[in-house]
Point group: C2
């Protein structure tokens, strides 16, 4: 038995058919341990009640690993069938599932993602809906640390290898992701790939324009805006297409209920007729309006921080010329590094609270609303330094910088001599804006990559090393525990224990990164046209590093479905629109300053600036309309497919049900057919009338000319009569 | 027989069951008459071939009246059934028609409108689609003057009587229209009614604001903008609702093919799989882009006319002080009256040509594109005089008016003495704007009513009187023709001959009027807050006079279907948006001038004006978003109904087809059910393994703990073990 296991382990890294691992934490105190034991018993009972096979193993670090798998194929097939039928009921699928189960699953095989999704639902759904009702970290299940599926190491290795040797990802790569990790993750990669492809154009054009046109070219701004419109509209269509192709269009309508949702009344669902729990949309709307003060608060809090640091920085780097200058230069950076995360965390908490208050029925709606708020935060922290430089520092610098003497006066109080600090004559630094944009589009992207991929990896490696050293020195108990692993399971359990410690993969973080990046391109790339080149390179790496992140540094994600990139679409649209405004303003403000020797471009009247913004924005809106209708003209192949399927389904149904009727009718009333009917009808009518006598006036009217030939005859005589009359008249 | 007829005629005005009247013109020359005779023979043959009964009568004035009715009820029922099935295939109807025809027509009776629509389609559809292929005034059928259904006099009388004694029209009134005249006409009245109801608010608020706030109040402007947003969004929802309620949602997808459409290639319809004739959408799009130069041309041509007349008017009324002033004042009006219709006709022709070039597949698309172009024309002729006064005359008057001396110089050349014409000192007339707005919102509406309703009525009465006198004097031939009418048909035929001479009812004219009216309210009502009061009164009358127009001055309209007010929705949205811009500008320019004694408000910097416009526009866009999402929250009852129907249909189908399966499954895997499955599965597995020996590693893994109870047991021992270890550790 042991030999077999060893041989097997070397042959392939099997997951032993495990569907999910429930990571169960064992508390430290005696009393809690008893509670945890009771809850554990309950857990295994519940899970096995809904049809899972269970195994428990030692999880290390005071925890258990409960392995579950769906016990019978029959149960799995039934569950999948049920969900597919539900999809069809809600209009997600166009065709009803086939009755012949065996044939059906041959035609539409079950993907990894589908099985795992259903298993997860079975574990977590409330008991009254047929699930086991396990909610990790909440209520009675507070010791359930996480429920996660296991990585397929073979697939992951192959996946990473494939992607890192490939220049360009195509749709089959995305489909692979979809089959493994579900549509939600696949949509992210599809978006990334689509964005990457679209970046090729502004990268090439940006490079050319950097060589030929220089910075602040209105032509570049125009093309860039147009590109962002086209990209946005194209993605909107592509998104629908993918959803149809993956059979998930409209799936957002039947998303998971949120467990924390509180209802204020019950009502009948107008569509399904079931009794559902409702929350007044008006109450929610009223609470949603709180987003405005929230955005304002973010703006004030983060704005103050950024403005202060900005002012200090300018004072120190450009005005101050006294001692310790080389150290003081770091002061604003230090301040920002300390306060930004603190404030952001605080505001994120607030955003969470607000979103809780809005009390959404579904997880998706909750997530969307939260994302919206987070976007506001990110918008401010990411873009306001550049906004400050471009629209405050450069144009109003000459007026505002003298006020920075405040710092000087404050500093004087603390120096013993009370004499003025040494300063130098101040001039607007015209390169500041460009440097800042380059920083955000190149340096920051690299820093981001490092913190996202390399740091966590190094951290994990290090903490593991530390742990091993630690356990070697002190804990003989643990070693003993580890020994208990059956040899053929040892490697597997080691892997599972590692995965249990990993973070969950959160796709919104990656979306946010890409959307903010798109913002730099749309808003500020007119300052430095090479922006898109930098992003092109970055995103090639990004796709691979995100894949690595999923495969190596995160638990395998639960394969949720999705029918779009969700709330990020709005953010993209907003940034694309705002780009038309900022680009116009930047070109207007800085274009001339390139020629003059003076650093300040503020020789321009306000109305001309506003007019150029107004003009640019409206051009944008008009172009958007035109592009939108052009895109619609192309008629999305996905939607076409969907309509065709619906049509075919109906036609088939019709043929099944009304077969004789349709064949009889399919010729239309036709020539001869119609004729016969008329004749018959007329003859029958005539017979009826002849029995009744004269008949009603209507019958009399329609009897004056019996059949078409009489009508023709009489008509012809009338024509010749009148024509003759006409001719005689004209001859008179 | 004659007595019977007389009695009958006095009892009720029967239409003798006629479905359609084909008005056939007899040409004057001999050769043409022969041609017309042949075509007539063909006409009757074609029509009777597709299943119509025919009768021909003398039409008076060198024409024939061909009466047709669908000959058999069976044919009618089949046709209707066919079309309803088609609707279902295209997703317009949610439920497939019942197979049991008799029951089906009892459940969903055939309305007047439905019967007439089908009959018309049967007459006009191409022969290969099962129709008779009669296209009035085109090709071989050039002598077919018109094909029209007959008015139901009893209904019309009752309708007019009912409406003129009712203060408020409700949905049953609209439904009545729908059953008689089809959805296209009904949508107009529904829109009118909805608009009327919504007008109550700005009328009341406008009156209050006229009393309390005066003209150019920013508060009024704000509320007015908000109102227009709410109205627009509400109508968008209402429109969908009505379409669902009337069962015509999506009907625009299956509209009539345009007979003049030219295809450039054939392709398979991606939805239905049929071969269809296509025209490249890109070619069409390229041609659609010609709309921009067209709009520019309209702008230049009509703009020049209006500016010229405007200048002349100002010169004459406000500067010129010489002889004939009282006559010369009329000069601009005369010029406008002569040239506006001429130029408009010319440009309308051009618009028609452009729309032809765009070569649409369907009549609806053609109509929509044409309407768009006409809207541009109407926009310029209706609003540019006010735009000129508000944004050119008042602010720039002092600079521009001196240039009007051109007229003086020109005039001098023609006067013999060559001495300067007598003029008076010029001042901006600050009341001019208000007067103009009042003119357009009150006087013009009344004039419009008169020309629309009273003039045509009077004209018809007069021409009839003239004709009668004329025929009494000269034509004994005609008298002879008339004598030939059978006495019991005499009155009926007289009526039909009258109706044959009437115009077709064109609903777009009425839409245009309302949309342009909405524009005055949205764009300029801040000048004169009583605008809405005037419109409220006007629209009460308008609904009745439009009803009268249909009932008395037009042929009965062919009851087409429609699922919205079509292209006018875009126009409404555009005007509503533009209102936010003009209102802000008007308030900004004129608000202060109310207080100062000086007539000119142009003491304001351009940037402040632009800023206020920019601000107002963006407030508008934000408010629109909020209102839109609020409206969406309310979830249109129509859409809900539709979804519910779809859901019910699917569920029913499911129950029929998969009845056993569903009942078995409806409990979900459940507690006990799941348990059993697990046990069984595990036992079976164990048995299999015991036969095979040790089994695969996977099997071994899942066999270590046999069933949930063992898992629980082992898990509990692990917990207590670890907990003890923890406690010992913490005690150390």
């Amino acid at each position: 038995m042991a030999k077999d296991g060893v041989k097997d382990r070397t042959r392939h890294k099997s997951n032993f058919d495990v569907d999910y691992v429930i990571h169960y934490r064992i508390p430290a105190t005696d009393q809690e341990a008893a509670e945890a034991e009771a809850a554990f018993t309950q857990l295994v009972k519940e899970v096995s009640d809904v049809g899972f096979a269970t195994e428990v193993r030692n999880g290390g670090k005071s925890s258990l690993l409960v392995f579950v798998k769906i016990a019978s194929d029959k149960l799995l097939a039934k569950q999948i069938y049920r969900y597919r039928v539900q999809d069809w009921l809600y209009g997600v699928r166009t065709s009803a599932p086939n009755q012949d189960l065996e044939q059906y699953f041959k035609d539409e095989p079950v993907t990894d993602a589908e099985r795992l999704r259903l298993a997860y639902l079975l574990i977590t759904k409330p008991k009254n809906e047929g699930g086991a009702g396990i909610t990790p970290q909440v209520g009675a299940w507070k010791y359930v640390a996480s429920i996660f599926p296991l990585h397929d190491r073979d697939f992951n290795r192959q996946w990473i290898k494939q992607w890192s040797t490939k220049y360009y990802l195509d749709s089959s790569d995305i489909d692979q992701i979809r089959d493994r990790f579900g549509e939600r993750v696949a949509f992210y990669f599809a978006f990334l790939q689509s964005y990457f492809t679209f970046l090729l154009f502004p990268a090439a054009f940006g490079f050319a324009s950097w060589l030929l046109l220089g910075q602040f070219s209105w032509f570049y701004a125009l093309v860039n805006c147009l590109w962002s419109v086209v990209f946005f509209e194209h993605w909107k269509m592509k998104e629908v297409d993918l959803a149809v192709q993956w059979g998930v269009r409209g799936v957002s309508k039947i998303q998971l209920p949120r467990s924390k949702f509180q209802f204020d009344h019950e009502a009948q669902d107008p569509v399904t007729g079931e009794i559902i729990r409702m929350y007044s949309p008006f109450k929610r709307f009223a609470r949603q309006l709180l987003q405005a003060p929230f955005a304002l608060a973010c703006f004030v809090v983060l704005g103050t921080l950024i403005v202060s640091c900005f002012s200090i920085e300018i004072f120190i780097t450009e005005i101050y010329n006294g001692p310790f200058k080389q150290y003081l230069t770091f002061l604003p950076t230090i301040l920002l590094t300390i306060f930004t995360p603190t404030l952001t965390t605080l505001l994120t908490k607030l955003a969470e609270r607000l979103t809780e208050m809005e009390n959404y029925e579904t997880k998706d709606a909750h997530q969307a609303s939260f994302v919206q708020k987070i976007f506001v935060l990110n918008f401010i922290t990411s873009y306001s330094p550049i906004f400050l430089t471009a629209f405050v520092y450069v144009p109003f610098g000459k007026i505002l910088v003298p006020y920075l003497d405040v710092f000087q006066l404050t500093a004087q109080k603390f120096t013993t001599e009370g004499k003025p600090l040494p300063t130098k004559a101040w001039e607007i630094n015209p390169d500041r804006l460009t440097k800042q944009v380059i920083y955000f589009t190149v340096t920051a992207q690299i820093v981001n990559f490092v913190t996202e991929v390399i740091v966590p990896y190094a951290k994990r490696k290090m903490s593991k090393a530390v742990e091993e050293v630690h356990s070697e020195i002190s804990s003989e108990k643990k070693a003993e525990l580890r020994v208990r692993d059956v040899p053929e399971e040892h490697e597997f359990l080691g892997r599972v224990r590692e995965e249990a410690e990993l973070d969950e993969y959160d796709v919104t973080v990656d979306y946010r990164e890409m959307v903010i990046q798109f913002g730099y391109l749309s808003l500020f790339s007119v300052v430095w046209p090479l922006t898109a080149c930098s992003f092109l390179v970055n995103n090639w790496v990004e796709a691979r590093s995100d894949a690595m992140k999923i495969a190596i540094s995160s638990q395998r994600p639960i394969p949720w479905r999705a029918d779009s990139i969700g709330p990020w679409l709005n953010s993209l649209g907003f940034l694309s629109w705002l780009g038309s405004v900022t680009s116009a303003a930047l070109v207007f403000l800085f274009h001339q300053s390139q020629h003059g020797p003076d650093g300040s471009p503020w020789d321009i009247s306000g109305w001309a600036l506003l007019l150029s913004i107004l003009f640019s924005e409206h051009v944008y809106l008009v172009v958007q309309r035109i592009v939108r209708s052009a895109v619609h003209l192309m008629d999305s192949p996905g939607l076409q497919k969907e309509r065709a399927e619906r049509f075919a389904m109906r036609k088939q149904l019709l043929e099944q049900t009304f077969s004789q009727d349709l064949t009889e009718e399919s010729h239309g009333p036709g020539l001869s057919g119609g004729e016969k009917i008329t004749r018959e009808a007329l003859e029958e009518e005539a017979r009826r009338i002849s029995i009744k006598g004269n008949g009603t006036p209507e019958e009399q009217f329609w009897q004056r000319q019996r059949g078409a030939s009489e009508t023709i005859q009489i008509g012809r005589s009338l024509i010749s009569e009148q024509a003759t009359a006409n001719i005689t008249k004209s001859q008179k």
